[in-house]
């Protein structure tokens, strides 16, 4: 059986989530491995969410926010950028593949980009294989 | 307790839920035992408590609100905690319906000292939500087999508003009886309230029970206790004759886990009932 990764998507309400909607309404095809959680802003994402997701069995985490400068709250994603960059370095030094965490800026009008990113990320995670390090055995 | 292991709860079923107050955050749960022998082993006296146990949420120590004279079930009046610290067990319990199953560990702790209370006049003073084990005591004493063992019984019970009074049906029944004097008061009444208004300490002063051969049993919020005690001292009650029940954070309930101590006493196994004289010997660490 081929490996079907579980990917957690955390999307900002104003841009990426709407972008995902657009991808859906325009009937774009993208892999079903992604399960999306909506948050109000990418800066609402507590890095512990990411650690927890990996512990609970996510093979990859995809985070979507507004393009820098477009944040609904003006600066949220600028903080998030710094924070998530640090999180990525932490995961990397702990020994996880940094490629399992990806941050993308996807606007409400970029349904295409959303589908592409998901496609690309899913392939990437498939290549990386199952995430077993942080995962808590069932 | 199940399997003689004091840490394992026995299964009970919720057979009745009564919403006690108009704020909907205090309910009385009636539990029936799922195993007959558990019921037989669960011998308790008023004042004792038990750990309500929900797997996945934890345990919560709650005073037993029913009287041992009531057969076939136990009752607990539970407030949904969570204003400051999330009350995992109490909120889970509040979300359950009749027929639901939880665990019970007990009975735990000491009780109101029934032998000490015998042949004495009893003044029961309660405030707000802390009336639960007092209700157990009152119902125990009022039972036809027990009533003759006690002298005059006076109940002074107050709540902030009429809607916050617990056990309204029973309060009404007590009003009608002539072998118990019941004084119910609220801090502030509403348009339908025809009873007394006033704070518990003031009402105590007014009722002025005689200290002669009398024991006062007092439970309530700290602020009520603080102002009620001087009233009883003024009336001439000795510290041996004033009883109260303490609350502390508990986990095991059997004096092992080491967190509910006040001085060298564990509230869970040496208490929760203490006389004022006993408390005076302990450090103020609660």
């Amino acid at each position: 059986m081929s490996f079907e990764p579980k990917i957690l998507g955390i999307a900002c309400n104003w841009c990426t989530y709407t972008g995902a909607d657009l991808a859906g309404t325009t009937r774009l095809k993208y892999p079903q491995n992604l399960r999306v959680v909506r948050v109000m802003c990418s800066s609402r994402i507590n890095p512990s969410f990411i650690f927890r997701a990996f512990q609970l069995g996510a093979d990859g985490v995809l985070i979507g926010g507004c393009h820098p400068g477009d944040c609904h709250y003006n600066t949220g994603n600028l903080y998030a950028r710094r924070r998530l960059a640090t999180t990525k370095k932490i995961l990397e030094f702990a020994g996880l593949e940094p490629g399992r965490l990806r941050v993308e800026w996807i606007s409400a009008s970029e349904g295409n980009k959303f589908a592409e990113v998901v496609e690309e990320f899913t392939t990437q995670i498939k290549n990386l294989g199952p995430q077993t390090k942080l995962k808590i055995p069932q | 307790m199940s399997n003689n292991n004091p840490y394992i709860p026995m299964p009970v079923q919720i057979s009745k839920i009564v919403n006690e107050v108009d704020t909907n955050d205090i309910k009385t749960f009636r539990f029936t035992f799922l195993n007959k022998e558990d019921e037989q082993n669960f011998k308790y006296l008023p004042g004792q408590f038990a750990e309500l146990s929900i797997y996945g949420k934890g345990e919560s120590p709650i005073g037993i609100a029913s009287s041992p004279t009531q057969q076939g079930f136990v009752e607990f009046t539970v407030q949904r905690a969570g204003a400051i610290v999330p009350g995992m067990v109490t909120s889970a319990l509040h979300d359950m319906d009749e027929g639901g199953e939880i665990g019970l560990r007990g009975p735990l702790g000491n009780s109101w000292p029934i032998e000490f209370l015998e042949n004495k006049n009893i003044v029961v003073v309660g405030g707000g939500f802390a009336f639960t084990t007092l209700r157990s005591l009152i119902n125990y004493m009022l039972h036809k087999d027990n009533r003759s063992r006690f002298g005059e019984i006076t109940v002074i019970y107050g709540a902030r508003t009429p809607g916050l009074l617990l056990y309204k049906d029973e309060l009404a029944l007590w009003e009608k009886r002539d072998d118990i004097k019941s004084v119910i008061t609220v801090d502030k009444g509403d348009e339908t309230w025809k009873g007394r208004q006033g704070f518990v300490p003031a009402v105590c002063k007014e009722v002025a029970p005689s200290p002669k051969n009398t024991v006062a049993v007092i439970c309530g919020p700290p602020i009520m206790i603080k102002f009620t005690l001087p009233v009883f001292f003024d009336l001439g009650f000795s510290k041996d004759n004033i009883l109260t029940s303490l609350e502390m954070r508990m986990k095991c309930g059997i004096g092992k886990c080491g967190r509910c101590n006040v001085g060298y006493k564990y509230v869970c196994s040496d208490g929760p009932v203490f006389s004022l004289a006993q408390l005076e010997e302990l450090p103020r660490d609660f």
Binding site: F51, R52, Y79, R81, R82, L84, I90, F93, G95 | M88
Partner: protein, 287 residues
């Protein structure tokens, strides 16, 4: 080498002066312990307390840890070594203390020792600086000339490791954790109440010292200290089971420095890098 006796004298002299004049209500310094090689953190609150003050090569404690224990507005004098002064700076940046309420007694020092091992403490486990960054009074001669190695040099070996080997290394180390929380309690930057790990809703991890919970606790703690850790090494020194937490903190500090071009706790004009941003931050850091 540092003249410890001289610093002790100065420390006593200045503490006495400050307490006598009423300029401060408490002096946070080092005091006598149960023997010479075990001094303790000490809070002198009266002139009579000053005689208990000591300073020797075992006074590793970062006294900045105790600043948040006093109510805002308390006038405090605090003895700081190099890293400690940086901790004070971060606390000022984060508005936990106000600069005007502090009298900072700077101690330039070289040759501090770990009382458990007797080893000299240097840039391997701490920031390796000798001179305080911020002070009102300097209690000894600044240390110059002996250039210390980069605090990040020790990381090389671990950065070169294969990621799987690094994971094994950290898993083994963090599995030792007994969750006594000495690391967070010794840390001057860990002042949250309650700490995320003590929350019951959401409950981030089990209380028992097991692998997943330990991982969650430490990874999150590394994150929470990103851009704030000033590399005083107290967490690792406090750890009873010897987890080299300093390595991870150093790595995060190094990455932050490279990404955001700012070292933690170097100026009270700065903000900690993660509560700050630049519009021109590059998306490259996310790659």
């Amino acid at each position: 080498m540092t003249d410890f006796k001289k610093i002790e004298e100065n420390l006593k002299k200045e503490s006495k002066r400050l307490l006598e004049a009423g300029d401060v209500t408490v002096v946070l310094a080092y005091g006598k312990g149960f023997d010479e090689s075990h001094p303790m953190p000490y809070a002198a609150k009266a002139v009579a307390d000053v005689e208990n003050i000591v300073f020797n090569e075992y006074c590793n404690y970062n006294m900045a840890r105790y600043l948040v224990r006093y109510p805002q507005g308390t006038k405090i004098a605090i003895a700081v070594k190099a890293a400690d002064s940086r901790a004070v700076i971060v606390l000022i940046q984060e508005e936990k203390v106000k600069r005007e309420n502090l009298v900072i007694l700077g101690i330039p020092v070289q040759g501090m020792k770990n009382p458990k091992t007797g080893e000299i403490i240097d840039s391997k486990t701490t920031c390796g600086m000798y001179n305080p960054v911020l002070y009102d009074l300097l209690l000894g001669e600044e240390v110059h000339g002996s250039k210390s190695a980069s605090p990040y040099e020790v990381l090389m070996e671990y950065e070169k490791m294969d990621k799987d080997a690094r994971w094994e290394f950290w898993k083994k180390e963090l599995d030792k954790c007994i969750r006594c929380y000495a690391c967070r309690k010794a840390c001057p930057m860990c002042y949250c109440d309650p700490c995320f790990i003590d929350q019951s809703k959401p409950k981030w991890a089990d209380k028992a010292p097991q692998s997943p919970g330990n991982m969650m606790y430490h990874l999150t703690r590394f994150q929470h200290l990103a851009g704030r850790c000033i590399d005083c090494g107290e967490c690792s020194r406090a750890c009873p089971v010897g987890i080299p937490l300093y390595l991870f903190h150093k790595k995060v500090a190094k990455e932050c420095e490279e990404m955001f071009k700012q070292q933690a706790g170097m100026s009270i004009e700065d903000k900690p890098v993660l509560v700050d941003f630049r519009v021109e931050d590059s998306d490259k850091i996310l790659e």
